[in-house]
Symmetry: C2
Subunit: 258 residues, 2 copies
Amino acid sequence: MSSICLSMEGGAAASTPAALPYYVAFSQLLGLTLVAMTGAWLGLYRGGIAWESDLQFNAHPLCMVIGLVFLQGDALLVYRVFRNEAKRTTKVLHGLLHVFALVIALVGLVAVFGYHRRKGYADLYSLHSWCGILVFVLYFVQWLVGFSFFLFPGAPFSLRSRYRPQHVFFGATIFLLSVGTALLGLKEALLFNLGDKYSAFEPEGVLANVLGLLLACFGGAVLYILTRADWKRPSQAEEQALSMDFKTLTEGDSPGSQ
Amino acid sequence: MSSICLSMEGGAAASTPAALPYYVAFSQLLGLTLVAMTGAWLGLYRGGIAWESDLQFNAHPLCMVIGLVFLQGDALLVYRVFRNEAKRTTKVLHGLLHVFALVIALVGLVAVFGYHRRKGYADLYSLHSWCGILVFVLYFVQWLVGFSFFLFPGAPFSLRSRYRPQHVFFGATIFLLSVGTALLGLKEALLFNLGDKYSAFEPEGVLANVLGLLLACFGGAVLYILTRADWKRPSQAEEQALSMDFKTLTEGDSPGSQ
């Protein structure tokens, strides 16, 4: 398998579209602001985070914003940012970021179920929770299918190239659904906690509304970078040669091919 | 201008991807179910709709689902569905559907502001309302800019083709933000109306959760049809000839060109 991991040293000339780094920097600024602002909201108005108390709930929004919004978004951008690295390296980074996101989201899930049990609240009755479970299951399935097609050696190349556009579409959709679910959760927390005070423009309500708008902007920024046609990762000579090697390799002796 | 409106009779052979009609039919089924279910929710659980009473509020969700979700989504699909009609006809239909959507959404906005005034409620304090105003303003601006670039004769062709990808991206983004805003509004209505009963799996709560999932599915279905690369509208020989004609025409004597 060592022939797969070609180094890019002395490879094709690197080319990055002029505006791309600025858009990526802007998206990262938005993403970090999101995480900081979620922390500030929980710290200033919700009493901070602690696992062994009622504050366990607060781990839920923080984990979800870090995992299913920021890290998931960044995992989608990996192919645009590391456009001149070897494809395999980029692919592994993409898969790893999604694993981190998934694990952090799992901690966030455990936090909210633990909090509900502690307080004797019902589980999974709200639209937020339905969307959340849907997102988590789809995200996990997408990761498994993505892994078996693209990282695990054995999938025939024809299957890979037929699955790739579906993987990209569902990846973007799951990300957007994650952002939407976060907005629903934020809204739920505001109505539960602020009640009538929400309509009096309490500072917490305004802060959380701004956080909601930033969540939507981050989703928009990632989507823009991802979909802009002239920013797509170029198909490199190295990869094409590799693909041919790999095609022969996998279609020749892989147990998965027919 | 009559040379622009070429008929397709005897034109290039029509070709429609085999699966496209099924996906479009599915999206329409989802869209109509959405509208019917919103009506059923308002009729069965919210007392129906009447303009001159507290039931004025109920015009808001119905108008928004019809205008900013169903019609807006369908306006985006026009170029996929009428792929073999003359481009100009399709363009006018696209613009008109967006006008209908905008007018219906305006009625929905008037309804909620009227209801708030009647009840003495504060305006524009919630995340739903902030997102809603943002969507409405962006949608109106997008329509105006789209009209002046693509329907009003005069924009140079080079400008049109540079603006087109931005128009498509922002169109899809505004549509998705509309769906997200509808979800936030639905959630708000549920928490205001059901309160603690929401967690007891009341029929209204379950119905509204299903409505929320269908909203997200409709958004996903429209996005899928819109972004699938091999379903994009083909550039027709007719259009290319037209473009050249029009290019000469507009760059020659249009007041807008430089």
